[in-house]
Subunit: 357 residues, 4 copies
């Protein structure tokens, strides 16, 4: 099989680096285009990017020359599919331009998530939303665009899906403890967070609420929100990677904690059935210890090796007596892997497996 050539928009930031790292030796994709802002164009990637992962920058990437976020440049590099990790202020325009130029765009930015014909896809949860691409084509898009959810939505929607299927969901309240990398390398000053936490992340609660409803809803020629009530309180804590979320939920049918655990453990989606290279087996890991999940210990969960950081880890599933049919639990999901680059790569693998690129 010939590899599909892919490029990364915004390749020098911390999510951009995750793409480069996860596309090492990818069996289906070959990374041939790395773009960044004007000041980096023309430099070698090694000089343009301050690498912050402990795995070392891959040599082949280090020597690549950074190009502009320009469709022509990406064409020259033979790219078919473009991953976008652009800063939000430029994402909308550049991603649209790429779609207009005929590329398949997989974006983990928020720019197009709520567009009426753009799906937010977690491959295990709502792969059928890829049907929306047909709608995009009908409306004349030359390329196509699929988005991944916000990093906080990602693990939440994953853990909710099996419960929605088996017991139905009425209400979901989530209180998050989010990692620093979610704000980008320069996002949170150390003086703001050491021996501290910040109970506020701009627009985050709104995103979680909206996105969960879109992802857990149906697509039938158009998106129909799920009929669930979702509320969030989002906080930043002093953890480098891995969003932890305390969830309270009301199910439609009564379910014991054991039943909830079982439906999560058994859950599988199309990535697992299709054995996609980056699909975690299983996608949800339920821990029985009283004190898990923990971000440092569990954020890299997921096997095989290529799926490290792709699993959602759930623990402390217990009854919430304060609610009718109440259940509470804690989940952990790696925000720059499953919440960004890894989820996007899995989307791309799904597109490839379904011959959509």
């Amino acid at each position: 099989m010939d590899k599909v050539r892919v490029g990364v928009l915004g390749s020098t930031g911390s999510v951009g680096q995750r793409y480069v790292n996860m596309l090492r030796d990818h069996p289906w994709f070959e990374l041939t285009a790395l773009s960044a802002s004007a000041s980096s164009v023309g430099k070698r990637y090694r000089d343009a990017s301050k690498w912050v992962l402990d795995t070392g920058m891959p040599e082949w990437a280090a020597d690549m020359t950074v190009i502009a976020a320009d469709p022509k440049e990406f064409k020259k590099a033979g790219v078919e599919l473009v991953f976008s990790a652009l800063p939000s202020e430029v994402a909308k325009a550049v991603e649209s331009e790429m779609v207009d130029a005929g590329f398949a765009v997989v974006a983990d930015t928020s720019a197009h998530r709520m567009d009426p014909d753009v799906p937010i896809v977690i491959p295990e949860v709502n792969s059928q939303h890829l049907d929306a691409i047909e709608g995009q084509r009908k409306r004349g898009k030359r390329g196509l665009i699929v988005t991944g959810p916000n990093c906080t939505t990602s693990g939440l929607a994953m853990s909710l899906k099996p419960v929605q299927i088996s017991y139905g969901l009425k209400t979901v309240l989530v209180s998050t403890m989010q990692a620093l990398s979610g704000a980008g390398f320069f996002g949170v000053p150390s003086m703001a967070i050491v021996d501290n936490l910040v109970p506020y992340i701009k627009n985050e609660e709104e995103k979680v609420q909206q996105e969960v409803l879109k992802i857990l809803g149906d697509y039938e020629g158009g998106f129909k929100q799920a009929r669930i009530r979702v509320g969030a309180s989002c906080q930043r804590v002093c953890v480098l990677d891995g969003h932890t979320e305390a969830v309270f939920m009301v199910t439609e049918k009564a379910a014991s904690p054991e039943e909830v655990a079982r439906c999560m453990e058994k859950f599988e989606g199309e990535p697992q059935r299709l054995r996609l290279p980056s699909a975690p087996m299983p996608p949800i890991i339920v821990r029985k210890e009283p004190d898990r999940p923990q971000p440092r210990l569990d954020r890299m969960a997921g096997s095989p090796e290529r799926a490290r950081g792709m699993a959602t880890v759930v623990g402390r599933i217990r009854r919430e007596e304060a609610l009718e049919n109440g259940i509470k639990y804690v989940l952990l999901s790696h925000n720059t892997i499953r919440g960004a680059a890894g989820n996007a790569i899995l989307i791309a693998e799904l597109l490839k497996a379904k011959d959509m690129i």
Copy 2:
């Protein structure tokens, strides 16, 4: 006015040190007895206690000789009122012994909190529960015992009280981000919490649920639980002092965020009316900034000087659309001051002001 002589049980631990620190130059109390475990008895306090506050150990305390947790020793020291910061495994027996010996005991341990004739008191919230002391006397107790709540309950119940009064409370869900000092100096290994959080604190959720109902309930010859449904998810984060709590609540009567803010800001209790020395003015501070409260910035809130760390700081009061009559907010309360030593001292001041000691 002659000062009341007081003693501290468990004076060398981190809460014990808070007592010593807060009783500096107290206008009503004089600290004359410091007890600790057998291995410390006979040593000077300076040698027995590894001081961990940045204010320096008071000279008068440094030179005191540590005594045994023995009523006879406390009598010799002329003590009338005993503060207990004992470790839980010994608290029950020693506190009972002190009461039997005729002392007034104010305990911030959990040992006696759920006893049928022992009140859990937050002076601003339920000073009328001191009526239970009469019950204690009737049942033959020579001394008396009052407890303070768990450090997590403390700020929560404080913030709920004005809402309960003005709008009624149906359901309260709280997700906590608790400080390290709550587990004692040796409680949480650094390897367990740096770049991490632990979503579990033993028995904590049960304590919060029970204690809130007792504190917000009535006392009429016996305690009657409040008819509120309370659920908690308790997590430990890498913050030295100050528990942060994300609260979701359902009120009986609809209330706007502004109305909730106003009732909290106006709230006052007996300590404020009696102008007790350690009473914070006001007891609840409502911050309007989007990103407050924060533990490092707000945990020492409270004026006058003697009431530093005694105020509960509330912020981000907003509607929770996922709940009928839903409101959510974030609160911050200093766990070893308002959640332990400071609250106990305020109880003692209240007892003194009401001539109950």
Copy 3:
């Protein structure tokens, strides 16, 4: 005594806030001018400054209107002495302008430290360097300017001075572990320092080396460097406030650790003799415990109350067998108090006490 009116250049940053905080109720000074960059001018201080101290912004400061860093504005406010906490890129020009306009300027910036007629003053160490002001006057300066040392130099030079006097110094090597606040609130991203350290601070080693030699040298119509060899290795660690420094030194005359401890403990300077309001008594505290000083426990050392954070804390004084006449020890000094605002205020007090303003 009428209070001297003072102003602060760069009042909204973290050092600026330290000035505001430490000038509360100052017995000799009244803060009447707060300046900041153009975007803040005209705003109230409460709105222009994101306050990061846990003591709360003083009400009188909160309501002051921020003015431009313009001599005319400072004149209008009746200011005689100006403290500068300006960012380095603008410090040089603005401070010079203030001196030209006739103000006494006390700067904790590096802009003018190495100027041939400008002293770097640690009041206990080299108050005689204020003689250089006469030189400034001779050369036609309308006002005067005195600088304080770099935050890393401050505690180091303080601890070296008594050893220099008693035993002479040949060589000093210092390895620092510096606090985050030294880089300003936004200086160090959390992603760069949590579970990490950074072994590099731009220009810091050069500053320490040069400044120590100037401060410990003589002034006789001109500055003469001390004949000591000084080398530094500067590292940033995950500590909010307080620079810790591991010092190795070679003395001219042999000295035992006990002798070194004694000469440090006995050390006093003009501030102590003149009983200046912010003078710590004593300026150097020698701890005997094996594991002190520690930044969180010792950075606020210093009494009386107004001198909190002004003392240099030294510990672990021991022989260094690898060096002839070798001694090693660890010191701790609060970088934004003794290393910036506090030292500058003490300089101002000294100027006032000596009738130089």
Copy 4:
């Protein structure tokens, strides 16, 4: 080739876990015995060990039954070589017992390091010290014992060796910033180190000083200390893994920073020449960036995959003008890999390659 069966003494602690992790799929060794203290004996490893690595416990280890630290049990498991990660209070006796029973013991404990016939080996640095084993045999030892150095000595001696060879060493002063894991999982309470550092590690400075001299010295029928003067100041900082050390040194022959860098970069030892499975290629990595090494980014340095964490990373090599022939630099070495388990495994590989087991 048949694999050599190996066992781990003290397998449930954090260094023990590193052994289990690094012996996954080892090409030469098969782990067949895991021992721990009495309370764990008979349990499955999964239940006896609170796993703290983010790589997940290997399944084969999880199901092994923990045995006693008893030579008979190790014989039953077919073990030939024993790795010791015992706590210091029991290490001496148990390791001796194992040697007496005929096992080859590789210990990263300090118990036998300074014994006159026991070498401290860093395979790249002093593999010729394995000659001491012959001396052990002569003195009647049935088995043999080799130790690895203290975690702080490890990277230091590695970085010094090439300089010693090329330019000679007179004096070495080192100031360390050591990681939390060096004290074991429960060693450093979070309350002691968050927003703090501790400038003291018991006996550490003495160990570093003695061990460097032994390792860099000669073995000719007996150990002869190197004629270098070594002094250390050891500090603990809030970093999970990876010891950082600021080194000042005086060479015998003058050497420029570039020359020092070159001799370090070119340095190779027997492990590299023999292509041992866990040998890092190269053993010393010299970084040119001004701000490296950093523990979080560099502690896992080392290739191939099996040698991750085995390289010593050196940076900031520069002249120290305060010393004659002075050079200073910063080094980083993973304390539980190169400073413990990884170094011990490399020793075992060397013993195997040289047919000494």
